[in-house]
């Protein structure tokens, strides 16, 4: 017996398996980042004073990073649209751009971290920096994970377009949902640390 509903949707739930799976996973990720935010709120409300992000962090650079990540979200969704429209070449282009934008984000982040270390600003220096490095660090790890998946789908995984195009399109949809979530987390992390 084959496992049913790997590609077509089950009538009563209206979903295929991986779609339900990714939303459940994202729900758990919401709880994970929510816990970090909870820690942030508690540390900040209990602190005697809390620095303005702009006094320590590089706001313009992070704003650029925010634009980069939002752009990668649109290229990601365009890569899925391309597959739905059966344009494999366009899919490769859009996913490739998503990957490059993601790597750019990482490079800029790496530069930011390095600069902080050069100034002697480490996680242990203050609770602000501690929770900053913790949250952005976990975000970066998630971004790396997403990029690895995207690279796989761009490269060896793309073979599936020949054998099972519908299933491959669904895989892009799932990867897209994850990628949008990573972007979403940044949309909260960025203002929290840099703008408040």
């Amino acid at each position: 017996m084959e496992i049913p509903y790997t590609v077509e949707s089950r009538p009563d739930t209206g979903l295929y398996n991986a779609k339900m799976g990714i939303w459940l996973f994202l729900a758990s990720e919401m709880m994970l980042f929510g816990a970090f935010f909870s820690a942030y709120i508690l540390l900040r409300t209990n602190a005697i004073d809390w620095p303005r992000g702009s006094t320590i962090l590089n706001v313009p650079l992070a704003t650029l990073n925010t634009v980069i990540l939002i752009t990668s979200s649109i290229t990601m969704i365009m890569s899925w649209v391309s597959l739905v429209m059966k344009r494999f070449d366009r899919f490769r282009l859009c996913l490739g751009m998503t990957i490059l934008l993601g790597i750019t984000f990482l490079i800029i982040k790496g530069f930011e971290y390095h600069h902080k270390f050069e100034l002697g600003l480490y996680p242990k220096t203050s609770t602000f920096l501690a929770i900053y490095f913790a949250m952005t660090g976990v975000h970066v790890l998630h971004l790396i994970g997403g990029t690895i998946v995207n690279v796989y789908l761009w490269g060896p995984g793309a073979k599936m377009w020949k054998s099972d195009p519908q299933r491959f399109t669904n895989r892009l949809e799932i990867a897209g949902l994850y990628w949008h979530f990573v972007d979403l987390v940044w949309l909260f992390v960025f203002p929290t640390f840099y703008l408040l």
Partner: protein, 584 residues
């Protein structure tokens, strides 16, 4: 309607090698057995740690018999922390959820496997790696984690650390390794819970509506949601504590911390209570993860051995959903003594009292199911029956702890240890034993020996009560938990100290009775009575409609379900049971 060709990796088309069939299997049945065997080994190890601890409690500062080996306070603390960690995270949950859940649930819903077989395999190996990492801690010179399974800071943040050490040295400490191990185990749980939930919603056979699901499956579904949504905060907290230990941050360290007369060189500004909140946000739902699968197993076995439908199936289903939901809003009843104000304490006390209601509903339904029953007293049924009063005692003794005023006297005493062990040991573990005896014939094609089973049961049942009841007595007298000498230096403990010897002897006797189980388990594989049918218990649920043992893909033809899970003794039929997949 397109079916993918390689959704099952072409298993149907070629023979798998040894490694893919038995080690890196994607078959839920093999993975379930892997989980179960690994978990049973960890349960044995955790049990052995307890037997060592009980020597120290009964005969403080005396060397182990025939040796010069002394269980020092430090070693006792390590054993204590690791006994709890291993039993909860490496033993009971992997057996109940990874073992029974994986093996049984897809069969009971009529599915060919779990929704994501590769993910299932990864979950097992993440668990295995987490277990290896956890065990590695015992080889660290400065000792394993020794701040309780609860790892409260500031102690856990600083244990075995010297501020000048390198990150490498700080990583190679018991508590740091514990945190790394937990990250593996939590990841395993999260991936597994996604698999469980999707499988139950998406892969039910034709005719298997939600209200025709065996109660065991409902229990696994609720458990899946608890694991999915409650574990991530502990993963976050674990990461933060690891940063405190390795990178010198102060998430959980307050300003002005002084250790051994010297100011601890950190920025401060953190909160030890933050850890407690994040920890207990998981750890309370975790206890329902511990009990729900066992309730599910007991429900199946009671229905089968009473030859009657379960009484109150619907109320049990709604009660378990309500239980799952409420479990997220009671956590700070573990923190009544942390200086919370009266308003917030009242909130948690109220939710805690409310959460006892669904447990009572489930237990009552199971008790009432016995009324007018034609009971078959085989070994699985004995364990299932004993579960009822044992869980009852465990649950009832939880009530004073949930009342913030009574908790003032009882918090952190042996009473707490008695309470939670009653629910987990003669509660959950009895449920798991019942399940092993019950489903053994489906996996192996042989019955376990009834005589050995009954000796195992009665011995364990008597010993359990002698181990855990005196804990209530000691706790009420004010004996604190986690005392390496069992309380002997305290005046108020003197009248109840002798119980330590009673409890220890009972524990060692219980160890001996487990040998009957181990003998039975392995011996019956070779010498057990072969079953004469695929359904030796005359059961109604779908796992018995498969070959023995079930092959790849489980069902020879996709099953169709025509009725509920407990159609026993239906009037007007010759047989006293109607299988779910039998057409009318």
């Amino acid at each position: 309607m397109s079916h993918s060709h390689d959704s099952h990796d072409s298993h149907d088309h070629h023979e798998l090698g040894f490694w893919q069939k038995y080690v890196f299997s994607q078959d839920h049945k093999v993975i379930g057995i892997q989980y179960a065997i690994t978990a049973l080994l960890f349960l044995f190890f955790g049990f052995s740690l307890m037997m060592l601890m009980r020597w120290q409690l009964a005969y403080p500062d005396k060397a182990l018999p025939f040796t010069k080996f002394l269980i020092t306070s430090d070693l006792y603390n390590q054993f204590g922390a690791m006994h709890g960690t291993i039993m909860v995270f490496l033993g009971v949950v992997p057996l109940a959820v990874g073992g029974f859940g994986n093996w049984l649930m897809p069969l009971q819903i009529g599915a060919p496997d779990m929704a994501f077989p590769k993910l299932n395999m990864s979950s097992y190996w993440a668990y295995f790696l987490g277990g290896v990492v956890m065990l590695a801690g015992f080889f660290i010179p400065s000792g394993h984690a020794q701040s309780g399974w609860t790892s409260y800071p500031p102690l856990s943040d600083v244990m075995a650390l010297s501020p000048g050490a390198t990150i490498h040295e700080k990583l190679w400490t018991g508590q740091s390794i514990w945190l790394v191990g937990m990250i593996f185990l939590i990841t395993s749980s999260l991936l597994g819970s996604v698999n469980t939930i999707v499988t139950i919603f998406q892969l039910r056979a034709k005719g298997m509506t939600m209200m025709r699901l065996p109660f065991f499956v409902w229990a696994q579904l609720v458990t899946g949601f608890l694991l999915l949504l409650a574990f991530p905060p502990l993963e976050a907290a674990g990461l933060l504590q690891l940063m405190d230990r390795l990178l010198g941050t102060s998430f959980f360290l307050p300003t002005g911390l002084v250790i051994s007369g010297k100011a601890w060189p950190v920025s401060g500004g953190g909160s030890a209570l933050l850890w407690q909140h994040l920890f207990w946000f998981l750890a309370h739902p975790e206890v329902y993860v511990l009990i729900l699968p066992a309730m599910g197993i007991v429900a199946e076995i009671i229905a089968n051995n009473t030859r009657k439908p379960l009484w109150g199936y619907r109320s049990m289903v709604f009660a378990s959903i309500f239980l799952g939901f409420m479990s997220f809003v009671v956590w700070a009843h573990h923190m009544f003594m942390t200086g919370m104000g009266s308003k917030i304490s009242s909130f948690f006390q109220t939710t805690t009292m409310i959460i006892s209601i669904p447990s009572v509903i489930i237990l009552s339904a199971l008790f009432i199911s016995l009324w007018g029953a034609s009971i078959r007293f085989n070994t699985p049924m004995l364990f299932a029956l004993a579960f009822l009063p044992m869980f009852g005692i465990g649950g009832l003794t939880g009530l004073p702890l949930g009342l913030s005023s009574a908790d003032i006297q009882l918090h952190d005493t042996m009473y707490v240890i008695g309470h939670f062990h009653y629910v987990v040991a003669p509660g959950t573990i009895f449920g798991l034993f019942a399940g092993i005896y019950f489903w053994y014939p489906k996996i192996t094609g042989r019955m376990m020996c009834e005589k050995l089973g009954k000796i195992h049961f009665w011995g364990s049942f008597v010993c359990m009560n002698f181990i855990f009841t005196p804990m209530f007595i000691q706790g009420l007298a004010g004996v604190s938990r986690r005392l390496a000498d069992g309380g002997q230096t305290y005046l108020h403990a003197q009248p109840v100290l002798h119980w330590n010897v009673v409890m220890s002897v009972a524990a060692w006797l219980m160890g001996i009775f487990q040998l009957f189980f181990i003998l039975n388990f392995f011996g019956s594989m070779i010498r057990g009575t072969k079953v004469t049918s695929d359904n030796p218990w005359d059961s109604t649920t779908l796992e018995w409609a498969t070959p023995t043992p079930p092959g790849h893909g489980n069902f020879t033809t996709p099953p169709e379900v025509f009725r509920g899970p407990y159609e026993y003794s239906v009037p007007g039929h010759d047989k006293d049971f109607l299988p779910q997949n039998q057409p009318s």
